[in-house]
Symmetry: C2
Subunit: 508 residues, 2 copies
């Protein structure tokens, strides 16, 4: 499909469900700061002491070799790696302050960092849910629906690979089915499964075919946003390390996110959780730069507090918000792009889900987040990919995109002459100044209902979740699969079949 | 009741519905800024040109005399007053940067401005609503329930007088019934009805009796937060001006809020609406300072955008949020405390209501708002006082109070020694550092449900609004009327009866 044909198709789509256009977002405002310079310094200093004196357990031998070769102190006969601050900082300095991740459609390539921000659909929930059928174990059919919706919603830039985990597919080859589905239903970039060496090599081979390129091309124009985590406190897991070695080796965008659950995996204080987060994220950054200097790295943050009653994690709380704001300052201190989440604790797509989501989003966006991972569809602490929440989140993200449109202030925009002309007691609806701005002056909603009570009641008195239910179905009806060169599709299919055989499972 | 007895009663209350303690709030962070200095300058300059060249229609003769005596250009035989910038600025400079409004219980007195912030219940909706009975015309019974809930919810500092307008009471004497109800059911400060001279004088006499003081005492310790508005564009209404003359004359806290509906009452641009808002708010401030120099004045902001489809106002939109942030900068430019709203457009206490509310709150609070008027219970563009929304808002406000708790960062708080002791792969739940912080480390919710799916489902799978429904009933059950000296109560009753007679209506 030509670029022009694509543009026209996008326009046609816009004529159906009204939504804001796909575009690169940038935060034009000064970042909000929650910590003083002194406080920032104490957190930095503490994380350096953790890395130097406590160290981190790196459970993969090759990873330890890489770190040893980079000059760090690897204990004989143990996983423990102690990292001196100078060594860490020299490596961290090699990471770029922004990155671009490329879609197979070049119009879908997006930038993160230096104020640029991208939004991703939720990734990884083992359950799916909608208002019609309730909550169920993740199945491939739901995974595909979420892929189609991610493609259709202009406000989303990235997919997490599986917004609902397809637990009905064999785990050994699931990553291959997912890659093929992402390649077909999306022309936006996504996060591959890169747990362990084999899956990671599959992801790289797959990308070469899809993008018609080689190692050098992939490294020049990264196509994967590779999100993973440490096992807090202070463990880098074997299979995760292996995946990072391969994908960072291939020059893809790597995000390492410490799982800092304050009160359980870290001390029961926000400052303690942040010191731990900072130690692990910087260790991850140093590791990635030791693998491939200059590799795009995203400082991951997911600091949350434990509910002291139940021991389970809570999201979208005041602590979650404060942690995100502080992370923005830490990431800027090191000149790194960073990631936060649109997370909530609520079990329903209700008012609680919305206010928790907003606590997550405001704190991250005002602090110049680069990637909102888990950006849309997350419910129930991340256990559920919710179809209605996806739509509600898309509305909220659209609102932030509008909020980030630069504030226009000029005498023309103010309309002083019109004010003088109308004078006290007049009305501005019919003025030329208004007529010129009529259509695009203000935000137009996706699923918010701005009707008055009588119209809202007469239309069925549906709440926002009920309207979202209608909206995702409409989007699925309107979904148009982005064209893929049949030869490429064939080659991808053959690759998947071959790899499935090698994994001992018959090709589908 | 003694102070101690009151304290103990409050403690007992806390043992019932668990909520955060009543306290003065202060924002410890640097304010978020959305405008550049240049942009701020253009808005200021434009508003000065509006006041100088267009002028404002002041529909009350006494008010015009006051402005004329202050040196402004009052047109012969017309309402039009043109205000030169120097004259305006000399008066604006007389207004204090913060104020205190006093409750009849001195523990309920609160400060606004210079980073201090107070939260008010919704004021003025003609309708009430709850999940049981739906939406209905406001009745005194609902008004009283809201007063009791305002008293019970520790996060609320102010009442707007009638969160649901008692349309079943005669309008001529409704203000007297309301004053008596506020005096009895609240020990927190409230907003009086001060539309027109008579009602304003009634409010002042009533306060003297309730607080056992005289004119000088009232002016020294203001007891009323007097919120009113201009009739945008550029009209100061007669009865409003009369009320301001009396209440500012009595040294009470005055807030004048331009009704700047962008696209209808102002040009269809945020910058145009803000220039208009700034002109009217500063004219109001100058007017108040001309009445009584040094009188506490709050810069009111309510800039919203019209829905270009229906012509009705929209709240909690990206424009609403940007307007609030910009207002914070304008108010700081003049050294004035300022007011914003917790407003939403949604007709239901659903996800839309929550995300619109959050857009309103985050933008105001990060920009150092002094008063969140319409802070809890607002639904449907302000037409409805909602019992469930009141509880949801109280939760959101509590979360902001926790967010504003200063960020604690110190080596002890971080717990470096504990991190070293636990090391990689350990768990922090049982450590002494956690045990010490266990109970107060993290926010505890009011109505948010943090249960896992199974527990939530087994408890009835109630959404946030349904849980809020149970919560307000429980709070009403637990409500304890604050003691009022019977002699004062008698005197207030007699005053109300006398004034009702004078208004030609038999005393109740």
């Amino acid at each position: 499909m030509t670029r022009r044909a694509r543009k026209e198709r996008l326009k046609r789509k816009d004529a159906k469900v009204e939504q804001s256009a796909f575009r690169q977002l940038k935060n034009p405002y000064k970042p909000f700061e929650i910590l003083s310079d002194d406080q920032l310094g104490i957190i930095h200093e503490s994380s350096m002491e953790i890395l130097e004196n406590v160290g981190i357990d790196v459970q993969d031998r090759n990873a330890r070799t890489i770190l040893k070769d980079a000059g760090f102190d690897v204990a004989e006969g143990s996983d423990r790696v102690r990292m001196d601050r100078d060594g860490v900082m020299v490596l961290v300095d090699k990471a770029p302050s922004s990155f671009t991740v490329h879609g197979r459609n070049p119009m879908r390539s997006v930038k993160g960092g230096d104020g640029y921000v991208m939004f991703s659909a939720v990734a990884g929930p083992p359950f799916g849910a909608d208002l019609d059928s309730g909550r169920r174990a993740g199945v491939f059919e739901d995974t595909v629906k979420f892929l189609k919706l991610t493609q259709s919603l202009n406000i989303l830039h990235l997919q997490g690979g599986a917004s609902i985990e397809p637990t009905d597919l064999p785990p050994e080859t699931r990553h291959l089915d997912l890659s093929l589905a992402c390649a077909r239903y999306l022309d936006k970039p996504w996060k591959p499964n890169f747990i362990g060496r084999e899956r990671s090599l599959d992801a790289i081979e797959f990308a070469k075919i899809l993008h018609g390129t080689d190692e050098a091309g992939l490294a020049k124009n990264p196509v994967y946003y590779c999100n993973t985590n440490t096992n807090t406190p202070l463990i880098l897991d074997r299979e995760i390390a292996q995946g990072v070695i391969e994908l960072a080796g291939a020059g893809q965008v790597i995000c390492i996110t410490p799982f800092t659950l304050a009160g359980a995996m870290t001390p029961a204080s926000l400052a303690g959780a942040l010191a731990m987060q900072n130690a692990e994220a910087l260790a991850g950054c140093a590791f990635v730069q030791a693998i491939r200097p200059g590799c795009p790295f995203v400082y991951g943050s997911f600091t949350m507090a434990v509910d002291m009653k139940s021991g389970s994690p809570t999201f979208g709380t005041p602590e979650f918000a404060k942690g995100a704001a502080a992370t923005g300052q830490l990431a800027r201190l090191y000149g790194l792009p960073w990631r936060s989440s649109n997370a909530c604790t609520s079990c329903a797509p209700d008012a609680q889900a919305a206010y928790e989501t907003q606590m997550s989003l405001w704190s991250a966006i005002t602090a110049h987040v680069s990637v909102i991972y888990q950006g849309a569809g997350w419910l129930e602490g991340g256990l559920v990919g919710s179809f209605e929440k996806l739509i509600l989140d898309a509305e909220m993200l659209q609102m932030f995109a509008a909020w980030m449109e630069p504030f226009e202030v000029s005498p023309e925009e103010i309309g002083l002459a019109t004010i003088a002309e109308i004078g006290p007691g007049g009305h501005f609806l019919g003025t030329a100044h208004t007529m010129e701005r009529y259509e695009n002056a203000f935000y137009r909603p996706l699923v918010s209902d701005w009707n008055n009570f009588e119209n809202w009641r007469d239309a069925g008195a549906r709440d926002a979740a009920q309207r979202a239910n209608g909206m995702w179905k409409r989007l699925l009806d309107e979904y148009e699969q982005p064209a893929l060169d049949p030869a490429v599709d064939e080659e991808l299919k053959a690759f998947v079949a071959k790899r499935k055989e090698a994994c001992g499972v018959a090709a589908a």
